[in-house]
């Protein structure tokens, strides 16, 4: 399979789907399924041609292992989510544009991961940013897309600046050579500005504000892509910044913290802060999608820490967490979308007991959160285990503390939607609701199966990662048949799974041989012997962790800070405006002259 064909077909199908949707909404939706599945299969077959280079028009591409890995994760998220598209077309305001943008952004991501030079990368990157900006706008809030676009634009511009700066030194845009010859202060400046777009995209701490806004308000069918897919673009930039820009080599002479150069450690610390911030904020969300968005912030922190470690174990963990989080997060978002499809809301306090109506969706969500929280036997456990081992190996105490906090805090926040949406009392309104159809169930089940497979046979994924590790010149993580071996111990996920099955079987047998229990209605529950007839009142879902939230509800909110800054900038603009464009022309002339004189003086001095 040829990359050109994949790109061309998806772009053409994007345009076609726009017109088909005009004729028949459902058909347009199904076209996105076909197109994204085509891209997925095509990419999968592309593995044979790794190493190839070619160019179309001005764009030049190189098929690398890591690009293939990233693109596959991305298109997996796209193709699985696209199964939901046909069913949401009626609820969408502009279904044609949605389908068009959906496929266009997918094409953009594919192109981006295989870019050979920075110009190609940047153009495809911007394609993704722009098309996703317009999709987010189709959701609940227009403001969300402003936030998304502003944060993305800051990142993109900084990256563009870094690329140009590197170009001025090295004279080339080719990714593997562009950063050669940088040193000293310029290297630090380029490093930080380059990775800025990555940080913005993963949602690392000061830039995390766009995730809840965009994930929470995007159309339900696009949130899984945003969280499972687009966030991983940032991880790609982070990957480039430690490999193509050999940060460890360039900064090797600098002050080191636990063996890591300070600039890199600083970024890892930012990752740690995002883990803590994401966890704390996720715990207090009332909207299921916003909660999952903040969990993406926290998981982004893990991915960043893992990738930046660039070692044998932690890096493998970070790279594997990409897949696990993409799969789990897409599955969780899809499950919430499926519930929203039936109930029309994502607010946790307005739902309850959906398990009795939608058991399959519940299983999907359950497996997704087990993976997200890093509990065996799901995939998330293996990647978090690798990251912990990597951290323990290097003795990075504070990062490890943040990682532990995020890991245990994730039990708290992932349990929120489980308890509020799926468990508890079914609301009277929802008593007649049905499970979603098979076509919507299918992608969720596939993702669930992937989560379990990644946890039981992690080596399938890790083998790909070892190839990536070998391609960037670090020693690959040691793999035996079913076992992952690290300095500090080894993990046999398959055996853990088997023993878990053994324990489960014993428990099941004891349960079965005992007398069958009497099935009672959910409302027949202990209420201190009081009669309660309203289901909604017997469901505890809002302010779930109130005593814990109270401990930090005084903490400053980043979004508020940004809003204040925005107001201040606006005021500054007004001040300038009042100085220059007053109703007295002579005042304007005065200030222009003063400014001119200053410019001349400063210019003379410099």
């Amino acid at each position: 399979m040829n990359l050109t064909i994949i790109l061309a077909v998806t772009v053409v199908l994007a345009v076609v789907s726009f017109f088909i949707t005009r004729l028949n909404k459902k058909a347009g939706g199904f076209l996105t399924v076909i197109a994204s599945l085509f891209a997925f299969v095509g990419l999968f077959l592309l593995k044979g041609s790794i190493g190839g280079e070619f160019s179309i028009f001005y764009f030049s591409f190189k098929i690398t292992m890591v690009g293939w890995y990233f693109a596959l994760i991305m298109v997996l998220a796209y193709s699985m989510t696209s199964f939901f598209n046909p069913f949401w077309m009626d609820k969408m305001m502009y279904p044609g544009s949605y389908n068009f943008m959906y496929l266009l952004s997918m094409a953009g991501t594919i192109g981006m991961f295989f870019a050979k030079d920075f110009i190609t990368l940047f153009i495809f990157w911007e394609t993704v940013v722009w098309s996703s900006t317009f999709i987010i706008q189709l959701g609940k809030s227009r403001k969300a897309s402003y936030v998304y676009y502003v944060v993305s634009a800051i990142g993109s511009m900084a990256t563009l600046f870094a690329i140009m700066m590197a170009y001025s030194v090295s004279g080339t845009f080719v990714i593997s050579e562009a950063f050669a010859g940088l040193s000293g202060g310029a290297a630090i400046a380029v490093f930080f500005t380059f990775i800025l777009s990555g940080l913005a995209k993963i949602g690392i701490f000061p830039f995390h504000v766009w995730l809840p806004a965009a994930h929470g308000n995007a159309p339900h069918t696009f949130s899984p892509v945003l969280s499972g897919g687009l966030v991983k673009m940032g991880a790609f930039i982070a990957f480039l910044s430690v490999t193509a820009f050999p940060a460890y080599e360039i900064f090797s002479g600098m002050f080191k913290v636990m063996g890591t150069p300070f600039p890199i450690y600083f970024l890892m610390a930012l990752g740690a802060i995002s883990i803590i911030v994401g966890t704390l904020m996720a715990i207090k969300q009332e909207d299921a999608k916003k909660l999952l968005a903040y969990s993406s912030v926290a998981n982004g922190g893990y991915i960043l820490i893992g990738i930046l470690m660039l070692d044998q174990v932690g890096f493998a963990g970070g790279m594997m967490h990409l897949v696990n989080h993409a799969v789990a997060s897409a599955a969780a978002f899809l499950a919430i979308a499926a519930v929203a499809y039936r109930t029309g809301t994502t607010k946790m306090s307005e739902m309850g007991g959906m398990i009795h109506r939608m058991p399959v969706t519940y299983i999907v969500y359950l497996v997704a959160i087990i993976s997200m929280a890093g509990i065996p036997p799901m995939g998330g456990f293996v990647s978090k285990w690798l990251i912990f081992q990597g951290l323990a190996d290097k003795g990075m105490l504070f990062l490890a503390a943040a990682a532990f906090f995020g890991s245990i805090g994730s039990f708290m926040y992932v349990f929120r939607p489980l308890s509020a949406v799926f468990l508890g009392q079914t609301f009277t309104r929802d008593l007649k609701k049905k499970e979603v159809g098979f076509f919507m169930m299918l992608p969720m089940l596939i993702l669930t199966a992937l989560s379990i497979l990644a946890g039981v046979f992690p080596n399938t994924i890790l083998r790909v990662i070892t190839e990536i590790q070998a391609s960037v010149g670090i020693s690959p993580v040691t793999l035996a048949e079913n076992t992952i071996v690290t300095v500090n111990g080894y993990l046999d996920a398959f055996r853990v799974f088997i023993v878990f099955g053994f324990g489960f079987t014993i428990a099941f047998v004891i349960f079965i041989v005992r007398r069958k229990s009497k099935k009672v209605e959910l409302m027949d529950t202990y209420t201190s012997a009081e009669f309660i007839h309203t289901r909604e009142l017997l469901h505890y879902s809002s302010k779930f962790y109130a005593p814990f939230e109270r401990l930090y509800d005084k903490a400053p909110d980043t979004m508020k800070l940004y809003k204040k800054i925005a107001v201040k900038i606006g005021e500054l603009g007004n001040l300038t405006e009042s100085l220059f464009y007053g109703h007295k022309p002579e005042k304007t002339v005065f200030w222009v002259m003063i400014t001119g004189i200053f410019v001349v003086i400063i210019g003379g001095v410099v």
Binding site: I355, W385, A401, F404, L491, V499, G503
Partner: protein, 306 residues
């Protein structure tokens, strides 16, 4: 991995159940003596469990049942991984992260089943239990992280073996005294003993997650509690008190440590849940970080003091 491993695993489960349940019964007597009572018979805990299993039960839907089975299954799998005096049914899998996260399967199952009962008390109890877990686990994990860094191993049995043969001062609790204190405090939280037992407060939130359990479900919860106690005490015992060279030494040390926990808990009042979080994030967290920094930067405690 062969058939014998599973047979051993089953025997370990049986042995642990008998041992821990007896010990719990004896400790009920200890608590009673603290309160100047005569106390229950030593085999009372067995009677309670078998009686609960004998009774009829009520079920609130499939997740209520499934959660209970998943909880007990996960916990039993974890017990099989615990090395007892160097013996493991499945050698090499006693990784501390595996154990502490596999434990979470059980907890998740229990939380799921409890919330699935549709009772708000249960949800409140689960919320408190998870908050409590966040409180005690972070300091404890930092100390464990320090141990892994110090000994280059995350295997329980290896860390236990490294402390043996040097007398009582070879134990990590004495090599890293701050860490040892943190571990003991965290163990109180893990076991859900006073002062950290607000999530099962019987008169306040009607025993929290357990509110809807009766009959065999409740029996499962009791068995699960015995196993969970064994896992938690064993982790701390192996990491900080040298495990045991022989099975008898292990059992003796275990009994002493567990009884000590019970005596502390017997004379304590109860923290509110936010007070517990505040407490853990003030004193033990600071102690854990100081201990970690000392070990990482000075190496004190990795070797013996003397």
């Amino acid at each position: 991995m062969n058939v014998m491993s599973f047979v051993y695993g089953f025997l370990v489960l049986l042995g642990v159940f008998v041992f821990q349940t007896t010990l719990t019964g004896l400790n009920r007597k200890v608590t009673a003596r603290l309160q100047k009572r005569y106390g229950a018979r030593w085999y009372q805990q067995f009677l309670d469990i078998f009686k609960a299993l004998r009774k009829d039960s009520t079920s609130h839907g499939w997740v209520f049942d499934f959660g209970v089975i998943m909880a007990l299954g996960g916990i039993m799998a974890t017990v099989i991984f615990i090395p007892v005096a160097g013996f493991e049914a499945f050698p090499g899998l006693d990784n501390i992260f595996v154990i502490s996260y596999l434990l979470a399967v059980g907890m998740l199952g229990m939380a799921m089943s409890a919330a699935g009962s549709g009772n708000p008390w249960a949800s409140i109890g689960v919320a408190r239990a998870l908050t409590n877990m966040l409180a005690y686990d972070v300091p404890l994990m930092i100390v464990i992280f320090t141990l892994i860094f110090a000994f280059d191993s995350s295997s329980l049995s290896e860390i236990a073996a490294l402390q043996q043969g040097m007398g009582i001062l070879g134990w990590n609790a004495f090599r890293m005294p701050l860490g040892g204190i943190v571990a003991v405090i965290a163990l109180l939280g893990m076991l859900g003993k006073k002062p950290f037992d607000s999530f099962i407060a019987p008169t306040e939130i009607a025993s929290g997650p357990m509110v809807e359990y009766g009959g065999k479900h409740l029996g499962f919860m009791f068995i699960l509690h015995e196993f969970m106690t064994f896992i938690e005490v064993s982790i701390i015992l192996s990491l900080f008190f040298g495990g045991g060279a022989t099975i008898w030494e292990y059992m003796l040390k275990y009994a002493v440590l567990y009884t000590f926990m019970n005596i502390i808990s017997g004379v304590m009042p109860r923290f509110k849940i936010d007070q517990a979080v505040k407490y853990f994030y003030r004193v033990p967290l600071a102690m854990a970080i100081v201990q970690g920094l000392v070990v990482i930067f000075t190496g004190l405690g990795v070797t013996l003091w003397f």
